[in-house]
Assembly symmetry: C2
Homo-oligomer: 96 residues x 2
């Protein structure tokens, strides 16, 4: 009984993981596009004000169960990875 | 021209951020449910084999642009936060 329930919950969890994977990668593509537009405009790709705004929106919309501080920590990891990805793209572009 | 495009991309990014927020919290609820089932069964809530399986699935399904190692790092942060949330729940239960 409990094992069937556990199995079902785990399937739901795998499903959520894959949706997260898809969204995190979609987010990375958007950040790459934003980086390209900014490059054309000649403005800096890292924008701490914009990052703060995004974290504020997370705080505003958070309904739990995670604490806002926990979510902001996770999002900061995603932001950092996105920035690193742009730096990699930039390095690759320089090598072409 | 570029600014309109930038604004649209940023709106899309906010939208993705909010979907991520929702999914990460949904994931936390599922982990709490799984924790409750396991508690009834008297088994340990931290399961490194299951965690490895989830990371393997991420690796298998990743289509980029993020590297698998980057995604696994982000997911490990989410796993860690989920485990901490369960520990908080456990502590609160002990205090009732």
């Amino acid at each position: 009984m409990g094992n069937v329930e556990l199995e079902q919950l785990r399937e739901q969890l795998d499903d959520v993981n894959l949706k997260l994977l898809e969204l995190i990668n979609k987010r990375a593509e958007l950040v790459q596009e934003i980086g390209n537009v900014k490059k054309v405009q000649g403005v800096n790709r890292f924008d701490p004000v914009r990052e703060r705004d995004m974290l504020d929106l997370i705080a505003e919309k958070n309904e739990g169960p995670f604490e806002t501080s926990t979510l902001q920590h996770i999002f900061k990891e995603i932001f950092k990875a996105s920035l690193e990805l742009q730096e990699d793209d930039h390095r690759k572009a320089l090598l072409v």
